[in-house]
Symmetry: C2
Subunit: 318 residues, 2 copies
């Protein structure tokens, strides 16, 4: 017993020595092997033992480090395939620019690919801000498709038309959806979606390689209400039915399940299709939205998230 213990501790001592020489003194494993009088392989084993035994602790002195940890934590906890957290600007915690730049960077990287991609987009302020950050590019190989109508029910254009703006910037083929966001009735919705053009666009959206969406909360300050898509009475009914958030106007409850009936009967938007190889990434910032974001992640409506530090903190602390 005492022998085994001694043996173990002396091995750990050596591991610590090797770890120190490697990480602190910057020796190569060959040098460590020489100094400790063991073979190079053994030195390597000692170093990796020091790591696996958690003897070496690495810390990163930079605000970004916290963001990386939060992103990692969110990915783990909610099984996301992709998660990025931008530093919050303490002066303007609600500002979108950090997140918008981060998301724009990711999209830009995507667009640089030579392989043709289908990119599906929702709407929303965050997404709009992000598109504004995109540089001029020339990407005729890609296609950008809208997930939801660009009209109000009365035919007016919707305020945050992301697809057209983006296609404009990056010069890609694009497919805005020539529909209202909500049909006036279930029958009208079916009628509209039977049009061949609409059908094709919905099919394209289904095949999208990546999908970026915003997330809206439900309540007095809900985007859907503010932008005039749903009435105050409808909002009340939705809340009563347990609604906490919406993505492309599809309203869902606390567990991320779509609400049956009510406005969802008349939503003309494409339905989301999540799979690990076809990420659906939400861009959403703000503590008001945490319930909606949490629900969307729980219900696997999304499998990717781009947010800011403050929101990420809230999400990890329920």
């Amino acid at each position: 017993m005492s022998n085994a213990g001694d043996h173990e501790t002396s091995r750990l001592d050596d591991a610590a020595r090797a770890g120190w020489l490697y990480y602190v003194a910057g020796n190569t494993q060959d040098e460590i092997a020489r100094k400790l009088g063991v073979s190079r392989q053994s030195a390597q084993r000692l170093v990796s033992l020091a790591v696996s035994e958690k003897l070496v602790k690495v810390r990163l002195d930079h605000p970004i480090a916290r963001c990386m940890e939060l992103a990692h934590g969110l990915s783990e906890k909610f099984g996301l395939v992709s998660c990025e957290v931008a530093p919050s600007d303490p002066d303007a915690p609600a500002a979108l620019t950090g997140v918008a730049q981060l998301a724009a960077g990711e999209i830009e990287r995507l667009l640089k690919s030579d392989h043709p991609k289908i990119i599906a987009l929702g709407t929303g302020r965050a997404l709009r801000a992000c598109v504004e950050q995109l540089p001029k590019m020339d990407c005729p190989q890609h296609r950008i498709v809208s997930l939801l109508g660009n009209m109000m029910s009365d035919g007016a254009a919707t305020p945050y038309n992301v697809v057209i703006r983006m296609a404009d910037r990056v010069n890609a083929r694009h497919y805005p959806m020539p529909l209202p966001v909500f049909a006036r009735s279930v029958e009208e919705k079916q009628l509209l979606q039977q049009q061949e053009a609409v059908h094709n666009i919905l099919e394209l959206a289904r095949q999208a390689d990546v999908t970026y969406v915003g997330i809206g909360n439900i309540g007095d300050n809900a985007p859907l209400l503010i932008d005039g898509f749903v009435s105050r009475e409808e909002t009340r009914a939705l809340i009563k039915a347990g609604a906490v958030g919406e993505i492309t106007s599809w309203v869902f409850d606390r567990s991320g399940k779509l609400i049956d009936g009510l406005t969802n009967d008349r939503v003309a938007s494409a339905i989301l299709h999540v799979s690990p190889s076809k990420p659906v990434i939400a861009i959403a910032v703000g503590t008001l939205k945490t319930d909606a974001i949490l629900a969307a992640m729980r219900g696997r409506l999304i499998n990717g998230l781009i947010t800011d530090e403050a929101t990420a903190e809230h999400l990890l602390n329920h």
Copy 2:
């Protein structure tokens, strides 16, 4: 100006991201390159930037780490070619076993070499304890030579006969010095050293590839006094002449210079020869000895040290 600053910070941000992914998340630089959308080379540059900008801090959670730091500090401060620090046992701070094991390990490594080596040894409790830790070995290729006589002036054997004990253990040729430690007079010393055998041994000692010695303090509890080599009056005279320590009975002052006259006139031991390729390593423990050790290092009487944590701390804080 603001552009340059922004550029720099965003570069550091990326460096921090890369550093985090590399050191915390354990990604390879290829993966980082893919995730950050840059070339592998750039990812490598970012990681090394994070290191050179001191964004990554490594800490080792193990008592050994402190010892390594102390050893490093001592090497730097006193230009040692070799320095090792053993953890002090808090229960028995004066115990030699930690240091003895460490030194034995180093000697064992040396003995494992196939190249014939000449190893010169002094005496002392520390060295003796160290030799006791050596395992049985078979090293006929090496030679072990004594730096100083193994007799009292009256012909009795000296108490800590290290050479014979060690040669016994490792089965090497050995050369004990058939002399008293101190001659009775300058004339006797010259006479003794003119013997051919003694002359050869001294020459061998001069050529030694490595030399291990103890360090003694001077004073009421000096080994030289306790073991009966010098009298109380001689000790007083030595202290008056500025003596603070001795190595192989050669007495030196605060700055590491050998004392002129007094007992040094009659010392029959070999004189130490220090050079970077022929290290002279002291094995010395105890806060009583710090002055002696400091002096020996200052005067370049030694260029290597094996000690324990507590002593090392004292040495570094003057």
